[in-house]
Symmetry: none
Subunit: 304 residues, 5 copies
């Protein structure tokens, strides 16, 4: 497998990491149909933890089976598959070596009374399951965010030492941050920047709206037209060390295909590295999901 | 002891586990009168911790003696016996090798001011006592559930490494979850799914009612008739990785025999793996309990 | 599985061991066609280490496959199967839960320049592979025997703490001990006694001849007729704490069936617990081996 | 990357290993031009340690540069590249993710006064450098072989726990073994069998001659014609758990092309998994080496 | 301090090292009058350990004072100062931040009965004393070299993880290597290569003679004229990964100035990185030493 110049350019930006971390980033960036383009699509399936099984899978009951997700990620030629411990354990033997996996190491649930998550997996688990990265969520804004940051500081340091990169979900939530501000451009860019500052290798954020939430931040955004989503993506990428870190955007709740495609075009045009797209995948029938992922791959290949 | 195809099919689903874990699961699944059927009945005796001795045993004073429970589990041909540290220590020598045991590693009590439990046993204890698994309770919904999840994450990883599977009691309780919702179908399936995601090998939940508690979950359940208990069991099994994990259902408070038998038939018909049945066993006289367990075994053997 | 009085009587003699050790002894003593009799037949396959593959298996090429040995031990209804690390790893998943296994933790080879062995497995391996015991060889007489004894002291202590019994191969060899004395009655009884003194749970020695090797020991043996092999067995059993420890005898090189049967009758009549019989099993064709093992089982059952 | 049935069949034989180990074996078996065939060619460059730089590289001075070896392994489409610590460190960043690497963890040199090696790398090094396996040499026959075996026992157990397989070079040498016997068929098969018993995942031995060295082994080889090299390969494969372990054969000193090709055909026809071919690669000019490796790949693909 | 292209090119070759290691290498390479040239002169003062104080310092009694060496290294504008623990402790406070230091971590003495050294310093010492690297000696050829290699393997791994590079003195000595062969070209190149393979960052060897010691190596050296010392230097540099590692040459016993200068010119012309020059420094008077070092600096600057 010869690394393409596009991927080589990305790897070179991780200049403090050991070859193990670079090798695992390369494994993700060279896998699947987007392999070598510098773009990536990750399938995350942790919504069962967040929302429960029926809300996640009843619409497409095949998706109750962990093998379903491994298989669709492989068949669609995706870059990687991310899931919590039990989901990976239920397929890691059968699919060993077939798709890079990311162990999601913390998880919340619908009853959480604080904006926090529980540690549910670790670096030892990631190694024995053959994962290519660990994943973790922080909630900037939460009263518990310092605890979450300290957890990922420890976990990420351990992971780096054994050659595993960190994918950081950075979702503003909780504390004094109103619901209305969670998707604000300034807030999203800030959350992405925090992830970069924490030493994450791949940063996962939501697509931001054009709302500016923080009063103190408004002057910095005034005088620019933020109505184009691709421009907002570009600002988030800029906030991740001016493009020195991989940034992927989540798809959010299941929605119409056209909206999904437009999001991908905007991510691509704004310089984002790709999509991490769960519910919009597994809450469609398998043929519909494969058709949608095929089109997304083509968008990222600039073929559509 | 030749493994039956039914048991082999179950073991093959634990594809990330070492032969030690598989061997202990096989020990449980091949033991007693249901050995080889893929069904199991576990006797749990931790109610003394939960409710105190008199509430638990006064109705059948022989049951104050730990040997009583070992003996009835053996005589009834059950699959395994689960109890806290002291209960096992009081009989583990006498009954060594006669019945697989499960060390219940955390416990609550009647005065608990939070929905949490104390760690009261560990993997070292389980090994020195010759146990075939560890047991643990989490309370999804509780404000302390993240702590409980982090405890079992550590304990379960240690157990897996030395060949011991984990039985996870997942009982919704506490926090914002109203008492009325604890047995709701959506809540029970969610709790079972969380246990699977945590990497549990055997999942223990309560038989759910047809109530749907969570507003957000209602759409996922609408349009289906949930009045049959066997259908609700089937949904819980589906929520445990579509049947890739063993699921057993608890009997709850002592009740009439017919209700106990109907529960077992519904578990069986819904594809559940069996019952974990404590108070309904030891709060009956020994002859009555043996007769009831005999009938339950026959139900799971499809003989009644 | 109800323990028989015969097995219970044996377990009671291991009065300082924890229930984990007793449980694993019970697993071996209750397994297979001799289960419950207090007698046992163990299949050991470590001759590949000692003599190389062709000398061990060329006569019956199916035996090159590790699954062959697991399967014949199961099909013949033996008590346990003992082998080095790689041999167990190559079958432990397929046969998990079907036959108690013993991890042989040290091994020699044909080129060894000293009467010693290398550590090739450990307690962690035994746990992850689901073994019921560890096995180890010492060479009383060797200049290295103190090192070997110190190794098993450490290993056995660790094993006991996690519920694993120790099977100790005690084979006089090396140092000032002449080849002619290795099978002497006084030497064999002494070697067995050393194994008991080391804290072994199951002692494996060779059937002794009626030769008395040590000048100083001769007076103690004079005046007794040692011509009957069963009497010599009885003396070895006596030397293992007067029957408080399980003693099994090895079959040595492949030989005629009648000699094998006579050995078993003498072991039985002398109060030995059974045979550990490798080459005489796997160097016969599978039908012949099964027929021979069937007859041996019947001998130990007093049926022949 | 979908695993082929040929590779899946191999992975299934490693039934006691965790998904991490299986994934790394899959990485090697799916890489390069032989990816998916179940055959493999490994480039090992540790001769600088063994023989010094000039004896190794003067004939083709480009080979003094560690990048040269990475690049030729990639350009020739080989399965993996094996080298000592410093050699890997000098290229692991540049070539991260481009070729599976094997960290050779012990090494000898020309002045060694005993048949032994020094530990020069460890599992932590392998992880930080992103290696897919560790490599290690034992010298069956050596007076130090017990020490070497105990070193790899520890190292291999650690590697397995973090998902790294072990490649074991098993080269008879030293002690009472005469030089003339090092390549004997009985000795080579025995060395391969020892590697399998030690729990190695990939076994590397030399192509054996038809000489039988050990007097005791002669009867086991008599009556069979061992003049065909492919039959000798078949016997070595049989000695590695009847084909349950991957076996590769080393090329030895640089020699004529036709001899190299005939060796490969014999390895293929005898059921071996491939070649590990160092000096015959880097002691040729780059064009000649690429042409030779191209032909070897075709031989293993049954195309020549 | 802007890194020069010459130094940047060197640092880029340490592609598996973390920024801490690179930073310390840069500190040495950018210090003093040769800073930025890619050349370096190191002052080592460990001869007190090797030969005793009087043999080392009586000729220039100021040199008994550890401050003397720090001061002359600073005043002469050298790259770094290397010494054993006590020597550094006696000046590290006074001269903190004034000159990069290298803690020599093992040492021999005149009474040593084997070709080995004692560990006399560690990574913790190096950190608390503010050192820029650790130093270590191995004796290729010695019967103890495997032990020495295993010591530096451990020490170097620890050092790398905390950002400290390793300077490896590789001096052939002991075992079957005759005194006459210690300076042979093949032997010196081999020793340098071993240091590179061990993962050393800076390799220190002696200037080799044109003698070829090893019979097996002779063919690789035949047909080339090795009479020019600069060509021999070039071969040693080639043997250190074709120039991917820094190589410095030691001056040996005190000798005439002209010989010292010619050595430096040959090192420079052969592509070596510089000199490590102890006795030729401190066994001269301070003015003489400063004058000599000034001239050496100019030679490496190509100014003489």
């Amino acid at each position: 497998m010869t690394i393409t110049p596009a991927v080589k350019a990305i790897l070179d930006k991780y200049e403090s990491d050991n070859p193990g971390v670079k090798g695992n980033l390369a494994r993700i960036l060279m896998n699947g149909r987007l392999g070598g383009t510098g773009k990536l699509i990750i399938l995350p399936v942790d919504q069962g933890f967040e929302h429960g099984p029926a809300r996640s899978f009843a619409v497409n009951p095949e998706a109750y089976d962990p093998h379903y997700h491994y298989q669709i990620a492989i068949d669609a030629g995706l870059s990687a598959y991310a899931a919590p411990l039990g989901m990976l354990e239920a397929g890691a033997g059968t699919f060993a070596g077939q798709i890079p996996t990311i162990l999601k190491c913390n998880s919340s649930n619908s009853w959480a009374s604080s904006a926090n998550q529980a540690l549910t997996g670790g670096v030892d688990d990631a190694l024995r399951l053959g994962c290519s990265a660990i994943g973790f969520t922080i909630y900037p804004g939460s009263e518990d965010v310092f605890d979450m940051m300290e957890e990922i500081k420890e976990l990420s340091a351990e992971a780096k030492s054994v050659g595993l990169p960190t994918v950081l979900w950075s979702y503003p939530r909780g504390g004094n941050l109103p619901k209305s501000g969670e998707l604000a451009l300034d807030v999203g860019a800030y959350a992405a920047h925090i992830a970069a500052l924490m030493g994450a290798h791949i940063i996962k954020v939501k697509l931001p709206s054009d709302h500016i939430e923080q009063k103190e931040a408004k002057p910095a955004y005034e005088g620019t037209d933020w109505s184009a989503q691709s421009d907002r993506v570009r600002h988030v990428v800029q906030s991740c060390f001016n493009g020195r870190r991989i940034v992927v955007f989540s798809g959010g709740a299941a929605k119409g295909e056209d909206a999904v495609y437009q999001d991908a075009r905007d991510i691509r045009d704004g310089g984002g590295n790709g999509s991490i797209i769960g519910r919009n995948t597994f809450q469609r029938s398998r043929p519909d999901a494969l058709a949608m992922l095929d089109k997304l791959v083509n968008i990222y290949k600039n073929a559509e």
